[in-house]
């Protein structure tokens, strides 16, 4: 409940305040969001598996975001930014889907 509320508060804040993101960072924002979503789905699944750990969550969240942004940044410097972000999105998307499937199995036993 509290996590969901926290998420909602964050979204509303972001939409209302529209913090100015430095133009150089803007391309990495969507990738960072996807990476963060991966960490959150992993955390939910870990919670349901009974092995959730706050520290692991926070660390994996931050490192996910930073690494994803870094990969895309590096790709941009090398001229393959578009392809690399596609790769990141595909891998993270697969992980999100499998974690969501695990969560579904936990919740609905199906």
């Amino acid at each position: 409940m509290i996590p969901a509320l926290a998420l909602l508060v964050g979204v509303v804040l972001g939409l209302l305040l529209q913090p100015t993101v430095p133009a150089a960072l803007q391309p990495y924002l969507p990738i960072a969001v996807v990476a963060a979503l991966d960490a959150v789905f992993g955390a939910v699944r870990a919670q349901l598996d009974g092995i959730f750990d706050e520290k692991v969550f926070v660390v994996s969240f931050v490192s996910n975001v930073v690494v994803a942004a870094l990969i895309v940044f590096l790709g941009d410097q090398l001229g393959v930014g578009g392809q690399l972000s596609t790769g990141v999105v595909v891998v993270l998307g697969i992980r999100i889907f499998s974690n969501a499937a695990a969560i579904r199995r936990h919740l609905f036993n199906a």
């Binding site: 998420l7 509303v12 803007q26 963060a36 979503l37 959150v40 870990a46 750990d53």
Partner: protein, 308 residues
């Protein structure tokens, strides 16, 4: 039911489990991505706690733990990231949309201004012509020059004209609506069944040959210098893009225009177009056609007056 450590999960293909030789050995990266979705740190940490702690080894400790706050903060951060990203994408889309509508607005404004200026120029031109006519009427030599001038003006399409004539309407073949809109998807050419610039060229030449004295296409008067061309899929007449159906008006003696045109090579060409490509055309007489002048004539050649 779901494995969280490196060992493969039971509901995954068993090939990942056989130690001797994995059939998908070369695809271990993909299998890893598919099966090993949970951060291993969770399992490691849980094992560590189980080993050291012992006392509070209850699964999924909830709520009362002191380390709750960072997680919540991180979630707020995620929400913030998401909201910001969404807001930015929307901003950018709106900016692009605004730019496009601004440009469209400017185009509309400019073409309205062009129309207004053209109308003003036409009014001024007719005023000049009227004044000139009055001046030329004064003596016999002048009126002869006036006659000749009027004939030249008619031939060069620099004056508006009206009179009886024929109206020829040519339309693209009807597209079969059940086949979808894009003919390219069905392997056809987008030009199938469409009236092309060269079709119009042939038809217009046929009209001139049949005795037309003035011709317009969709209201654009053709002078001797007007080109019928195409750019992309649009037909340009005197550099103005036209869209089908094309309405060609020709001033001349209606009866002979009609008969001569249908009999001519252009008429037969049109007939074969309509039977092969499905292009439709109709030819009607009209008692009263009004045509504007062609675009402003430009001075191309001039000669200094001979010193007398």
């Amino acid at each position: 039911m779901t494995g969280v450590s490196r060992s493969p999960v039971s509901d995954q293909p068993s090939s990942a489990e056989v130690p001797p030789r994995r059939l998908d050995g070369s695809m271990s990266l993909l299998v890893d991505v598919m099966t090993n979705t949970l951060d291993e740190a969770y399992a490691a940490r849980a094992a560590q706690k189980r080993g050291t702690g012992g006392g509070s080894s209850a699964p999924a400790p909830r709520g009362a733990r002191p380390g709750r706050l960072p997680g919540v903060l991180v979630l707020v951060l995620l929400g913030l990231l998401t909201g910001t990203a969404v807001a930015h994408v929307r901003d950018r889309a709106q900016a692009a949309e605004g730019l496009r509508s601004d440009l469209a607005e400017e185009v509309r404004g400019r073409s309205a201004e062009t129309d207004r200026l053209e109308a003003a120029a036409a009014a001024l031109r007719s005023e000049v012509a009227a004044t000139r006519d009055i001046a030329l009427e004064a003596d016999a030599a002048g009126s002869r020059v006036g006659e000749r001038l009027r004939a030249l003006e008619l031939a060069s399409a620099t004056v508006p004209v009206r009179g009886p004539g024929v109206v020829l309407t040519i339309a693209d073949a009807e597209q079969d609506p059940t086949l979808g809109t894009d003919v390219r998807l069905r392997g056809g050419s987008p030009l199938d069944g469409r009236v092309l610039d060269r079709d119009l060229q042939v038809v217009v030449n046929g009209l001139w040959a049949a005795g037309a004295e003035a011709v317009t296409i969709n209201g654009v008067r053709l002078s001797s210098r007007a080109a019928i061309r195409s750019a992309g899929e649009a037909v340009l007449v005197d550099f103005r893009p036209l869209s089908p159906p094309y309405r060609l008006e020709a001033i001349g003696r209606p009866a002979s225009l009609e008969v001569d045109f249908v009999d001519s090579q252009a008429g037969r060409f049109l007939e074969s177009l309509s039977s092969f490509s499905g292009i439709t055309w109709t030819l009607d007489r009209s008692e009263r056609l009004t045509m504007p002048a062609a675009t402003e004539p430009q001075l191309r050649a001039a000669r200094p007056e001979e010193p007398s």
